[in-house]
Subunit: 295 residues, 2 copies
């Protein structure tokens, strides 16, 4: 076993925890997957994975949320109230730090993905980059002025309200808190409830035109609030071929050329503004490792 | 005349330019007001005001927009396409710098106000603070992680889309670009067009309940995107007695307790979260002076 310092990352999701170790250059040496069951069993599985690496220096966690990120809070590192059974108020950071004896960095799964794309993917060289994930839920991570966006808690972008498409959409929305917020209208779960099938099984172009319309509202509102230099859209639903291009077209129309930034006034610039993740499915774990390196 | 170094600020608005000089402690020593007419006459008026102060070290400008803030852009310091007659593509920075021989800092009027409230007002001691102005138009300035938010261009928050109140509001919206975006529904100009009178002359509680509903959507969407630690709401329309308290109540209901941050789950914490400007009408000029000091 070499004495190379190693850095761990955990993409802590609601269905699985992806664990990885990388060298100081960010090269991933080993990956493991642990199903998300109870907090105790899941965290113990991660500890077993990392214990094999004796030169582990730090671990970063990109966690599903909401999660308390305030360094001065007694609940720092805890999952907050979550619909995920058994996980509300779980301390994720302390058990890892205690068992592994290394610093543990933490941020949301989407901030980790934003960090990954910013350091090593589609956001390289920019100051302000947004990462929007559209999967079972909708989430936002962002690097603003070269730092992860946290603020009061962390973005809960999935829950913004956008106008409903009243001519084509009678669905009441799937969000247990808000009904027809963005996530309630456009997440994978919303699609499943509205159409009675999983997003990946839906092929009617009208379904995807409606979806693109809602996500275009997300892109435009995000642009008007955060003014990112690039918006990366990842997540399972966003993999649908052609969806990104529909979103761009609708966002271009919605922005109506205002303000006079090329991304909103030149159609080809919009193609460079709204993009898929350059790291594919690895944005999150890449960013989690980076969170460890900075912890 | 003393040799104390002085710093100038300009709150460059569409109807007037407020100019001020302050000492290094930020104490304002003199203020002047110049009506906004043609670019040449207006800028010359500001130059005359500042030339009287021989120890002027720098000037900061908080300008109406949109304005090009990208340091590497050939149009840096220029007003972009604007409905304000005669002002599209006006270079604001170079003529001031050339005539006064001092560095000129620039940002949007709302970013200047955000900076003012952050350094010396309601945002003191926080890392991420949003300043929302509701007047003739609607604008957002923000300090994120201790730095002004710029990104691709700068926030154009007034133009986000929010759900219309379809039961109470048949008004098509006043925005020339988007119709019923937030500014098109809730700005002073929208109120004037919808009700046929200026906002300050409207006293029907139903008018203000509708307005509070739209602005509550703004507060909640802003919270979900930017997650500020405090939202300051300024501007002429926001001075209406009781409006802030209606906005808080509606925003509290809209957030529906999600996520579990006190501002959204404890009614009294919401009162501390959404506040008026501590500097009253001086947020913008205070921030403009700060922009000069940092230029």
């Amino acid at each position: 076993m070499s004495a190379t310092p190693l850095y761990g990352g955990i993409e802590a999701g609601g269905t699985k925890w992806v664990c990885a170790v990388a060298d100081a250059g960010g090269r991933v040496l080993e990956t493991g997957v642990i199903p998300t069951t109870t907090p105790g069993t899941t965290i113990a599985g991660a500890v077993r994975f990392f214990r094999r690496h004796r030169t582990l220096r730090a671990v970063g966690v990109g966690s599903f949320g909401p999660v308390d990120l305030r360094p001065d809070s007694p609940a720092y590192g805890h999952i907050l109230a979550t619909p995920k059974p058994g996980w509300s108020h779980t301390d994720v950071v302390s058990p890892l730090r205690t068992a592994l004896g290394v610093p543990v960095g933490l941020d949301t799964d989407v901030n980790a993905a934003a960090l990954g794309e910013w350091r090593r993917g589609a956001g390289r060289g920019r100051e302000t980059v947004a990462y929007l994930t559209v999967g079972t839920g909708i989430g936002l991570g962002a690097v603003v002025n070269g730092r992860l966006l946290r603020g009061l808690l962390h973005p809960e972008f999935g829950h913004i309200r956008v106008p409903r498409d009243r001519t084509r959409d009678a669905f009441a929305g799937s969000c247990p808190f808000h009904g027809d917020c963005l996530e309630g209208l456009a997440s994978g779960e919303a699609m499943r409830q509205r159409w009675g099938r999983r997003a990946e099984d839906l092929d009617d172009p009208a379904v995807w035109e409606l979806e693109a319309g809602y996500l275009a509202h997300a892109v435009v509102n995000l642009t008007y609030v955060l003014s990112p230099e690039r918006i990366v859209i990842g997540g399972g639903v966003a993999k649908r071929p052609g969806l990104l291009s529909r979103i761009r077209a609708r966002a271009f129309d919605l922005a109506a050329g205002y303000p006079a930034a090329p991304a909103l006034t030149v159609r080809a610039a919009m193609d460079e503004y709204v993009v898929g993740p350059e790291l594919g499915d690895h944005s999150g774990i890449t960013g989690a490792i980076e969170l460890g390196m900075c912890s």
